[in-house]
């Protein structure tokens, strides 16, 4: 049975087709979901893709978090369905209170695009179980509002409970507190991160590696992880 992974398109979503491609390359079936509907079309997992939903003029992700489909996504997430929020998707998860804290304008003030080294801090999630703990991966990052903030108590809790999923290595590209690049929830079904794994799934179109230009595919493991998880369930 093929695993069906839904990718939500909001007005202003940009990386939705890329996320669909990543799902396909991982061996699952991508299913397009529309922000204005209440229909999850029976998918097994959901990706909230990158972009600038509603222009992200208010706070990134704020308006999308209140769209019709998000009511269903929130219910599904609370019921244990794997949900991955990438960049704008992460911002939406935070605005929907599925993950704690907030994402604010990068400390240097500019949009930044770079091939970013990350450390996988938690493999206990639907989207990271294919990595090894401490593994270093390179994933493209591109955002203007990627600075992760939360109060100290929250940060301490996140660390204490092992909920930091990814940390920036070598360079903190946006001023995120404690170098946090991504989080998971307690149950491990919801993961959000600023970098874009769907841009590192196909040789020739990913980040540079020591072997060949643009050949990095570290992002594929996100999507194969959820496949493994869904097949087990």
């Amino acid at each position: 049975m093929t695993v069906r992974v839904g990718v939500v398109t909001f007005p202003g979503s940009l990386d939705d087709r890329d996320a669909m491609r990543a799902v396909r390359l991982a061996g699952a079936e991508p299913v397009a979901l529309w922000h204005g509907e209440h229909d999850l079309k029976g998918v097994d997992a959901i990706v909230l893709p990158g972009g600038f939903s509603y222009g992200d003029y208010l706070r990134a992700g704020a308006i999308a978090a209140r769209s019709p489909i998000m009511a269903e996504v929130i219910d599904a997430a609370n019921g244990g369905m794997p949900v991955l929020g990438i960049c704008n998707g992460f911002q939406i998860l935070v605005e929907a209170h599925l993950l704690p804290g907030g994402l604010i304008r990068n400390d240097h003030g500019d949009f930044i695009r770079r091939d970013q080294k990350l450390r996988v801090e938690s493999t206990d999630s639907a989207w990271t179980n294919g990595f090894t703990a401490g593994q270093e991966i390179v994933i493209p990052l591109k955002n203007g509002e990627g600075g992760y903030i939360a109060d100290d108590a929250t940060l301490d809790r996140l660390e204490g409970e092992g909920l930091v999923a990814f940390r920036y290595v070598d360079v903190n590209p946006n001023g995120s507190l404690r170098d946090i690049a991504g989080l998971r929830n307690e149950r491990g079904n919801v993961v959000g991160l600023m970098p874009h794994p769907e841009h590192a799934v196909e040789a020739g179109f990913g980040p540079d590696t020591d072997l060949a230009m643009r050949s990095g595919t570290d992002g594929l493991t996100f999507f194969t992880s959820v496949l493994k998880q869904s097949v087990l369930n």
Binding site: L58, V94, I104, G109, G175
Partner: protein
């Protein structure tokens, strides 16, 4: 046309890099009496008709639920604009 003004600021205990950058720029201009800057948002909600208490309540609700994110921001004011402080709506 009456206007409801909603003012939202980043929480005092949280990082505000944008405010910090502005403070840096002010200090570079040589003005050191201003020690710290915080940068928030100011919404003008233009209203068709009267602003009654019910609408003000609605505005407060919107301020809390939509216009701010309580995890990182505080609503510092919701008030009807005195004309001097409101720009005219297009």
């Amino acid at each position: 046309m009456p206007t409801i003004v909603v003012e939202v600021m980043p929480k005092a205990e949280l990082l505000d890099p944008a405010g910090k950058a502005v403070a840096g720029a002010i200090h570079r201009l040589g003005e050191n009496r201003i020690t710290d800057v915080r940068l928030g948002k100011r919404f003008e909600l233009h209203v068709d008709g009267e602003v009654d208490d019910a609408l003000l309540d609605t505005a407060r609700q919107l301020a809390a639920d939509l216009l701010s994110n309580g995890v990182i921001e505080d609503v510092v004011s919701v008030h009807v604009a005195d004309d001097a402080h409101a720009s005219t709506g297009a």
